[in-house]
């Protein structure tokens, strides 16, 4: 490839793999005016052609660290100590102008959300060209370089494409443009801030593959920031785990996975759901009349058809996972069942009697027995009402005025593994996980038979997710049936007995989790499983994840 020749020509021999091209020492960033340390005393090094995975949950300071590698600090933050050295130059010693010249060439940045990081008012050509900012390059050369990079990230390189605006691209294409923009200047170091968030797994797999290939081909040192341990384990050569602003563990990926030394790393690793298990209590095909039976359901918005001929059933005490990527129609399906989406035809039968379309046309008893938990706990609680009132509101409406309201609230909270003292709090006084527990408490207060969970863990950190899943399994053991909607195939095996795979509004595969995971029949399911990053854990105690007792640990996946 001509690319290799070109690289050697301009690199001057300084690009041999193995030398540390990025080194950070004792870096501390503080917030103003509180002087709180956002990251403290962080040291990392990255060699050419390798990728360092920087893992941490929300609030760990990983984004702040990523930005400080480009000598950029968000408003009201500043670097108070330490040094960042990129390709032999200390960023702190450079003038503003010097830093600017380094950006894009020595160190480049790929943002979390390209949709907001690409300028909506500028054509791709302009945005790609200026990333090159090399005055010595002629217009034709620059153009050629831009086309070359676009080709490398598998995007069209014709004039028509270059003349487009960002909003004319799909999410995956936007992220590829962002990658191209970062690599166009042949940087020594590249910082990737959760670049695959919001992409579905197939697109994510392609983007990750592109990133891996590009860093290797260009001999670039990559810093990949992510909350997703599975992605990092798949991609990175080295892992640094961040917790509360500090790097608590650093090491080669295989070593960290096999022998995590810090307790937080251990916790993080065990919280990641395994892709292949036989599922929660494997049983045969359930028998008898199902609790919920959906048959021949077609749904849509206006003239757009979203769901086509859906057949799903849920038996008492059973958890059925509804697996699908964004746009597959899974939320429409769950909302139709809950009575929040009315534009559907077909049969929805609950406990032998049909459910009307729309919650307002159902009986109070039906509404009581089917409850819904929403995706984003930050939006699902009324910020102006106390937890007590949020739980009692639906209860009063559906069950009636309780004789002892305090007991109802306390019991509901207890079932959601919260103490009764939470009753007096407002939502803003709760963490994300606590909010989701309150949402669950609100739903279970009326003692429903069926709980519909719409992506209820996707807004939460992975360790919190593990706790919520554990809670749901407890509820299921008490006899509640669950319809668990998710895009995360790894979660499916950890909670559900049966799974229905939804793809473009059609159920392409349905069956017991163990069977579907180990021997998927449909091509789409196979692709989904293949594209989902996964890793093996071998350290002592690893099987104890998601509250799964050691004897439940399946042998199949390991």
């Amino acid at each position: 490839m001509t690319r290799d020749a070109g690289r050697e020509a301009d690199s001057g021999g300084g690009r041999d793999t193995g030398a540390a091209v990025l080194s950070v020492e004792g870096l501390t960033v503080i917030g103003r005016p509180s002087d709180v340390e956002i990251i403290s005393g962080v040291s990392i090094t990255v060699a050419r052609g390798t990728i360092l995975g920087l893992v941490g949950e929300s609030g760990s300071g990983k984004t702040t660290l990523g930005l400080s590698l480009l000598a950029h600090c968000k408003r009201a933050t500043e670097i108070s100590a330490g040094r960042v050295e990129v390709a032999g130059k200390d960023l702190a010693s450079l003038s503003e102008r010097g830093v600017r010249e380094l950006r894009g060439r020595a160190v480049a940045y790929i943002p979390q959300s390209p949709a907001s990081a690409l300028n909506p008012a500028l054509r791709l050509r302009t945005q790609l060209r200026e990333a090159l900012h090399d005055a010595s390059l002629s217009a034709a050369d620059a153009q050629a370089r831009v086309r070359e990079v676009l080709g490398e990230v598998a995007l069209p390189d014709d004039d028509g494409f270059l003349a487009r605006y960002p909003h004319q691209l799909s999410g995956g294409q936007q992220q590829r443009v962002a990658i191209a923009m970062a690599f166009v200047g042949r940087p020594d170091v590249i910082v990737l801030d959760e670049p695959t968030t919001g992409l579905d797994v197939t697109t994510q797999a392609h983007v990750l593959e592109t990133i891996r290939r590009m860093t290797r081909d260009y001999g670039t040192a990559g810093v990949y920031i992510s909350h997703d341990m599975a992605v990092v384990a798949d991609l990175a050569d080295e892992i640094a785990v961040m917790y509360r602003g500090e790097v608590v563990e650093r090491g080669r990926t295989d070593r960290v996975l096999a022998d995590p030394r810090h307790s937080y790393t251990r916790r993080l690793l065990t919280a990641v759901p395994l892709l292949r298990t036989t599922g929660h209590e494997e049983g045969g095909e359930p028998e008898g009349e199902p609790l919920l039976r959906v048959a021949g359901l077609d749904a849509g918005y206006g003239r757009t058809r979203v769901l086509d001929g859906i057949d799903v059933s849920v038996h008492r005490g059973e958890c059925v996972a509804l697996l699908g990527e964004s746009g597959s129609g899974k939320t429409t399906l769950s909302r139709s069942v809950a009575g929040l989406h009315r534009q559907y035809t077909g049969e929805v039968v609950f406990d032998g009697s049909p459910l009307a379309a729309g919650s307002y046309r159902r009986t109070a008893e039906q509404r009581r027995r089917v409850q819904y938990v929403f995706q984003n706990p930050y939006e699902a609680l009324n910020p102006r009402r106390r937890v007590r009132d949020q739980i009692l509101g639906p209860y009063r409406h559906l069950v009636g005025r309780p004789r002892d309201p305090g007991a109802v609230v306390a019991e509901a909270l207890e079932r959601a593994a919260l103490s009764a003292s939470y009753a007096d709090r407002y939502p803003e006084q709760l963490s994300g996980g606590e909010r989701q527990r309150v949402c669950i408490a609100r739903a279970v207060a009326t003692r429903p038979d069926l709980l519909i969970c719409d992506e209820i863990t996707s807004a939460l950190d992975v360790s919190v997710q593990a706790e919520i899943v554990k809670l749901l399994r407890g509820l299921q053991d008490e006899g509640m049936a669950l319809l668990f909607v998710t895009h995360n195939i790894a979660l499916v095996s950890n909670i559900a007995q049966r799974v229905a795979v939804l793809h473009r509004g059609v159920i392409v595969e349905q069956g017991p989790v163990g069977r579907v995971m180990s021997a998927p029949e449909h091509e789409y399911t196979r692709a989904l499983i293949a594209d989902t990053p996964d890793f093996e854990l071998s350290f002592a105690g690893a099987p104890e994840r998601l509250g799964m007792a050691a004897q439940d640990r399946p042998v199949t996946g390991a």
Partner: protein, 297 residues
Amino acid sequence: MSAPVNAGVEPVTVVPRGRGAGLFRTAWGFGRTKVGAALTGLIVLIAVVGPFVAPYTPTEFVARPFETGVDGTLFGGDNRGRDVLTRFLWGGWTLLLLAGASAAIGVAAGTVVGVVAGYRRGWLDDVLMRVGDVLLAFPQLIAALLVMSIVGPKVWLIVAVIAVSHMPRVARVIREATRKVVEQDYVKAAEAVGLPRWRIMAVEILPNVTSPLLVELGLRLTYSIGVVAVLGFLGMGLQPPTADWGLMINENRQGMAVQPWAVALPVAAIAVLTIGANLITDGLSRAAIGIDRGVEK
């Protein structure tokens, strides 16, 4: 989206957090809110207490027209020789009452329309908003003048016209706020439970649009003061011989060069009042932005 919601720069939050201060408490934290409250308070005090401490009655003749330096008068006489100070002290409460009433009615009605339109969507939303657009095509003052010129300047009409002209503006803002709230899942949760629509509007939506509501109230109060005053100034508000700040300016502007007090006093009062009201509003809106976004600013 699988991103943790508050991924970002802030350090790990200490749980449990205390409940954030309310809108008023946050607003009070800004210096300008305090200044605004002091200014507004001063003028309200003058308007309310004024009639009781005025040296003369508002229609008593104590000097020659536009005469200054008359014994027993602090600021001299007005265009017809009545005591300027007395008329100033008497002329505020009508303005406050009319402005307060029209702002309150307009905001209340606009809020109802806005919440209903924002929540029910569909044809009702379209109809309400299109009617609002037609009303919005009249600049506020022009609408008031048109009606006044035809029916004649009547007190209830002033209040009604200003209230009606506020309505579509308030409705637009509240509708926007409502739509944001309706997007939130707690409204859907209430729907799934089958809570009656009116209860959803009253319990789930209304409490969550109070921040823009209060800001709107402040803003509309400021505008109402302006419109009531300008109507008086144009001779289309309260009629002689009522003592009214707007009317006073109208009556005495010809003699502004010889007797500036008769104009300067009401002008200063109106200016201070509107500035005060707007400072409070600004404090509220800053607080509202901080509260609604959940960030300290």
